[in-house]
Amino acid sequence: MKVSTSYLFDRGTSQMADVQNRLAKIQAQVAQGKQVIAPSDAPEQAATIQRLKAVVAKQDDFLNTMEAANYRLQAEESALSAVSDGLLRVRELAIQAANDTLSPVDRQALALEMQGLRDQMVSLANGTDADGHYLFAGGRSDQSPYTYDAQGRVSYVGDQTRIKVLVGDQRLLALNRPGSDAFTRVQRTDMQGQAYGVGFFEVVDDLIAAVKDVNQPLIQRGADELEGLQDGISLALAQVGTDMNVVDAQRRVAEDTKLRMQTLLSSVEDLDYAEAITQMNKEMLALEAAQSSFAKIAQLNLFNYIN
């Protein structure tokens, strides 16, 4: 087999160029600390990296959402527990007022305190979150949900839109409680035996009126109905608590997932330096060998020996 002179030179240069290419790539990997410099180097790996990064970003979103949700839930919780305390106090006062021995002046004092508690509860029910949106208005979050009508009675004008947010891939969290869900109605029966509902604050107002009028049966009824209201608030508080637990649990899930994905991402994306440096040394050695061997071989020529 004959090797032509030009072929000898061409082969030598192209082989050295190959090794140099490989070296340049390893050098870039080492410099950036990444396994994949351009997506075209490893399309599959690049796709995996993008997918993993999307998952990580999504977990971050969930965490942000949960943080916002948590603020809101805390606001709801504090408002509801304050209302619960207020209701307890109103009930105490109602029981005091039911005592026959009280003087009219004492009763008026009780009614006055009850009135103050009721006004405070109304303002709690009209509470807003950090952005000024009403907590208990349902979807009408830009209007205060409990308004006074011409007669001074307070009625609910929010709606029953229950907002849910995604806090996990398959997990929906209730973000709000319409006022009607927390400040529940009680049921009364009219003269015809037909049941009808009475709003939260109407019940309180009726009770205050009964205290003022010293109407024992109505005071008694009011005290009984307060228990129903208390139940409603407690239930709502329990739900808020559950939702906060859900947030805690989901937060752990999101953080776990994020960590797992980041570990996975690092294994796919980040460069193994030990391996890369070893590889680089190998290639450098190969290049040196190629260069020196070529230099020597190229000198060999029969003409050197003709004289």
């Binding site: 032509s4 399309p43 009408r140």
Partner: protein, 1027 residues
């Protein structure tokens, strides 16, 4: 001796040449395409000496190119294959790097978009988050645009590359043709200069890098080259002729490029252009660039479609239905390049649901309700929708027939919101009724159904009613506040004032001119005798009509009907305590009276046949009931009717109602008119003519002059001449037609036309009409005289039905009966006909501008539970009961559906619970739609169950795989090519070692031959020395 000199001198010469060849080889060691040349030395022919042959030396025969055509071809082919891969690898990598990069790719923008949707879903009322959402939506569209632009840039570059490569191929082809021209001077390849052939092979080698070639050689070494599947297709070079290659965008598919040979001459499409850079570029375009573009465009379309579907199914911050979020630039193909964000106001971002359900604050229970909406499929309803069953044309020629012999025939369903629907029933049979009933079972118009009919309706399959619908007649034929949803519904004959647009001379619009309503009938039915319309069966506007009776022994004429309409409305004549006087002029002695007296006792006082003879006869008839009513009648001094209560009852109120007058503001008139177009007149025939004025008018026979009637005018003059006898006059109409009509004093009376031919029994007269009575027509319009007197304005004229009425009666009067659903139809209403017989139905209407969903939003509804297992659906504004349904409180979960809206309750409701469904217009804090948008991120909306991002990543991966394949192929083909090059170098390459050896060999042979010459010379000298 001469032999020796000859041999050696020949050898010296030969080796000198051989050394020249060697030195040429050495000189060309670096020349591209140079083929090593070999000297062919051969022994010259021997000379015979005696029995022996003596050699005569060596001869330099030829310089031979050390070439193997098979190896050359192999090298060209492997070169083509290898060159094809490099554009694939290079550009596919570029595309992957563009699309797959985190900075320029779509994934990050898409994830960002969904992330801000997610943030917005947690606080939908926030204007900051809304703005952020729009910003990221804009980021998504611009990323699409940029990607598309970058891909376009690559495509442009590839296009230029292609053109350059094609131009290079064409240049090389031209050079090859020139070489062919030089080769053509000799006829044998072996005699050709080696350098020419080297040049030829080098050109072929270069061309093979651009496209895969088919090469053929002539005997003299001229090459024929084609790029087609065979040597005869796609020929580039044939002898000295060349044909250029051109690449043009495919007309059929803009993403493809077609290769053409000789594009400006004898155009030939090349099929098998593969290999080489051109082949590689073509497959790059087809396999990578086109799918990348198409895939990206498709993705842009899907994104726009899916996001818009959610966004337009939601409410924005202004409480309006969302506009599309994305759109494609007008006039451009829908793709990634033309995708635009078209919402720029953050409040226009639609986050809220289109509906909501609100609990009434006075609900006794704490039951909560949730909703879901599925648009009902109206096309599956039975009977079918109006627009599919009846043409929008009230003309009777466009009608559909009602089959006879059925107690109940379903006609059509009018969809809610249909505008100004009118459904006519013509040629109705006695007792047939036009009925309108909502799908929820509310009877709107018509007559009460018999038990049979109701049962038939409820058991029809497929059912025309909603499942579980209960029949409700509460709103039947009601008007005003009592009407179904306060809608204007009417059955009968109706006319309205019409507004005519007016313009000033300058062209600016003026206030519309209002033309009075005119209820114009056509010719009344013939042969009507006796009681034609029973009392209390028709009403004109709000007034019930008395009986319409034909004069005894005579046929009813239009004039009788006009008189009846003007006099027989049931109207109160008076009401007073104690005494009451009614003017004689107000009394209609032909009609019935009702006299109400003490304790509201009412006597119906009917006239004898032909009416009460005079006022005294009426007085007697009233007094016949005094025992019942305690009312005594007499005639007072003025001849008026005086009524008084008997003593002891004087404090009671009494009232008289009589069919004594017309309807306020309306006046009816009759006219008999016969119109005959001029061309239908028979000028040579006579005409028998007279009006029906009992006894007074006589039949007159009009005989044509000898030449016949000159024209319609002549015939009209003849009729006018006889008017005094016939009561009929005539004139010529605007279109030249002959019009016969009554003299004013006989308006509305029948006109006799004759004669008939005794032979055929058909009309044989100047008018061409069959002999007989022509009936008149009735019209009702606004009474101008009363208008002057300040009477109230009458908007509509309505001839309607009372309980005993039917469309048949109206038809007999020459009027069309129809169900009018004015303005917007208030519910999905079905129209059907009860009663046997055939009739025809036609309609006019406009379909609704609002979708079913929008209507439901605008209207809303209220559900009220009346008992544990029954609920009614009410209209929130009018409190009209739209439907009544039974309810299953034990279902898990309990739910109900009305017009596609399903309410799901948390537990069984209590009687008195109410839920209102409305359009959520102020629900700014609702995030239901935004939540759907967030869920779109994980929705598998693309074929193969892929999410949007997955589809994109898969696309990038697919291109990456192609590039990987190309890379693998490139590596493999490099080896093949290397081998081919090695083989070529082995056979044709110059090795300096080899040449050095040759150099020494030929040098030594040369020296030896020279020595022989010397020896010969020595020998010759030896011979010369012999003395």
């Amino acid at each position: 001796m001469s032999d020796l000199v000859g041999i050696s001198s020949g050898a010296v010469q030969a080796y000198q040449r051989a050394l020249g060849v060697v030195s040429n080889n050495i000189a060309n060691v670096g020349t591209e395409g140079y083929t090593r040349q070999v000297s062919d030395l051969a022994a010259t022919a021997p000379r015979r000496i005696g029995q022996a042959f003596l050699g005569t030396g060596v001869e330099f025969q030829a310089i031979r190119r050390s070439v193997d055509e098979f190896i050359q071809q192999n090298m060209r082919n492997s070169n083509s294959d290898l060159a094809a891969q490099s554009p694939l690898v290079d550009y596919a990598n570029r595309v992957v790097d563009i699309m797959g990069s985190e900075d320029s790719g779509l994934t990050t923008a898409m994830n960002r978009f969904f992330a801000s949707a997610r943030e917005l879903s947690a606080d939908p009322a926030s204007s900051i988050l809304r703005a952020a959402f729009l910003r990221d939506a804009d980021g998504l569209t611009s990323r699409f645009n940029e990607l598309s632009g970058q891909l376009q840039a690559v495509a442009d570059e590839v296009g230029q590359y292609m053109n350059t490569a094609a131009a290079e191929l064409n240049t090389l082809a031209g050079q090859l043709a020139a070489v062919n021209g030089q080769l053509s001077r000799r006829d044998d390849a072996a005699k050709q200069p080696a350098s020419l052939l080297d040049e030829r092979d080098l050109l072929l080698q270069k061309m093979s890098g651009l496209a895969k070639l088919k090469v053929g050689y002539a005997a003299n070494g001229e090459a024929t080259v084609s790029v087609g599947t065979t040597l005869s297709k796609g020929v580039l070079v044939d002898g000295q002729d060349t044909r250029p290659v051109a690449l043009v965008p495919s007309a059929a598919n803009p993403n493809r490029v077609d290769a053409l040979v000789d594009p400006y001459g004898d155009k030939e499409a090349v099929q098998g252009l593969t290999g080489g850079e051109l082949g590689g570029l073509l497959s790059l375009k087809e396999q990578i660039l086109a799918p990348a573009n198409v895939g990206l465009d498709h993705l842009a379309q899907v994104v726009a479609r899916e996001v818009n579907a959610i966004h337009t199914d939601a409410l924005d911050g202004y409480g309006q239905i969302g506009q599309p979020l994305f759109a494609f630039e007008q006039g451009e193909p829908e793709g990634a390049a033309s995708l635009r964000l078209v919402v720029d106001d953050p409040r226009r971002v639609a986050t809220a649901a289109l509906f909501r359900v609100i609990e009434s604050p006075s609900n006794p229970s704490q039951v909560r309700a949730d909703w879901s909406y599925t648009q009902p499929d109206a096309s599956a309803w039975h009977p079918s929708l109006l627009q599919t069953t009846l043409a929008n044309n009230p003309d009777t020629t466009q009608s559909v027939s009602v089959a006879p012999g059925q107690n109940l025939s379903l006609i059509t369903t009018v969809e809610q919101g249909t505008q100004d629907a009118v459904i006519y029933l013509d040629q109705a049979q006695p007792g047939q009724q036009l009925q309108v009933l909502t799908r929820s079972g509310v009877h709107l118009l018509g007559q009460p159904l018999s038990l049979d009919q109701a049962a038939t309706l409820q058991t029809l399959m497929p059912s025309p009613l909603d499942p579980g619908a209960q029949l409700n007649t509460q709103y039947l034929n009601q008007t005003g506040e009592k009407a179904f949803m306060h809608a204007d519904l009417f059955i009968g004959a109706k006319a309205q004032p019409t507004a005519v647009q007016q313009f000033a001379p300058g062209g600016e619009p003026l206030e519309d001119a209002i033309t009075d309503a005119l209820l114009q009938g056509s010719a009344i039915a013939g042969g009507l005798t006796g009681e034609v319309v029973p009392a209390q069966s028709l009403k004109l506007n709000h007034f019930a009509m008395g009986a319409l009776v034909a004069p005894s022994g005579a046929e009813l004429q239009a004039s009788d009907i006009a008189t009846w309409l003007n006099t027989a409305a049931v109207r109160p004549l008076g009401r007073a305590v104690g005494n009451l006087t009614i003017a004689a002029s107000a009394l209609n002695l032909q009609q019935e009276f009702n006299v109400t007296g003490h304790q509201s006792a009412t006597a119906g006082i009917a006239p004898p046949a032909g009416g009460f003879a005079d006022i005294n006869a009426l007085v007697d008839a009233v007094n016949a009931y005094t025992g019942l009513t305690k009312v005594q009648a007499s005639v007072d001094a003025n001849g008026d009717l005086a009524l008084a209560l008997q003593s002891g009852f004087a404090s009671s109120e009494m009232a008289v109602v009589g069919n004594a007058a017309g309807v306020p503001g309306l006046v009816a008139s009759a006219r008999t008119a016969i119109e005959i177009p001029a061309q239908q007149l028979n000028p040579t025939k006579s005409l028998v003519l007279y009006g029906r004025q009992a006894g007074a008018n006589q039949a007159v026979t009009l005989t044509p002059p000898v030449a016949g009637w000159a024209d319609a005018r002549a015939l009209a003059d003849a009729v006018i001449a006889a008017s005094a006898q016939t009561g009929v006059t005539a004139h010529v109409g605007l279109e030249g037609q002959l019009v016969l009509s009554n003299l004013p004093e006989f308006a509305g009376e029948d006109i006799y036309i004759g004669p008939n031919s005794p032979v055929t029994g058909r009309g044989d007269n100047a008018l061409g009409l069959d002999a007989g009575w022509q009936k008149g027509a009735v019209s009702i319009t606004r009474d101008q005289t009363q208008l002057m007197a300040g009477a109230e304005t009458v908007a509509d004229i309505r001839l309607g039905l009372l309980e005993a009425g039917s469309p048949f009666l109206i038809n007999q009067l020459g009027m069309r009966a129809a169900a009018y659903l004015d303005r917007s139809a208030p519910a999905d209403a079905m129209v059907f006909v009860t009663g046997e017989g055939s009739a025809s139905v036609s309609a006019s209407y406009r379909t609704s501008d609002l979708s079913v969903k929008d209507q439901l939003r605008a209207q809303g509804f209220e559900v009220k539970f009346t008992t544990m297992d029954r609920y009614v659906v009410l209209d929130p504004t009018t409190q009209t009961q739209l439907a009544e349904q039974v309810f299953d409180p034990h279902a898990r979960p309990p739910s109900l559906t009305y017009r596609g809206m399903t309410l799901t309750l948390t537990s069984a409701p209590m009687p008195g619970d109410r839920f209102v469904v409305d359009g959520n217009d102020d629900g700014v804090g609702d995030n239901r739609a935004m939540l759907s948008l967030v869920q779109l991120q994980d929705a598998k909306v693309l074929p193969g169950d892929k999410t949007l991002v997955d589809a994109y990543i898969d696309q990038v991966s697919a291109i990456g795989n192609l590039s990987r394949q190309a890379k693998v192929a490139q590596d493999a083909l490099t080896v093949v090519y290397d081998q081919a090059v090695q083989a070529r170098e082995e056979s044709s390459g110059v090795s300096l070692d080899e040449e050095a050896a040759d150099l020494i060999r030929y040098q030594q042979a040369y020296q030896a031959s020279a020595k022989v010459m010397q020896t010969a010379s020595t020998l010759f000298d030896a011979i010369l020395a012999v003395r």
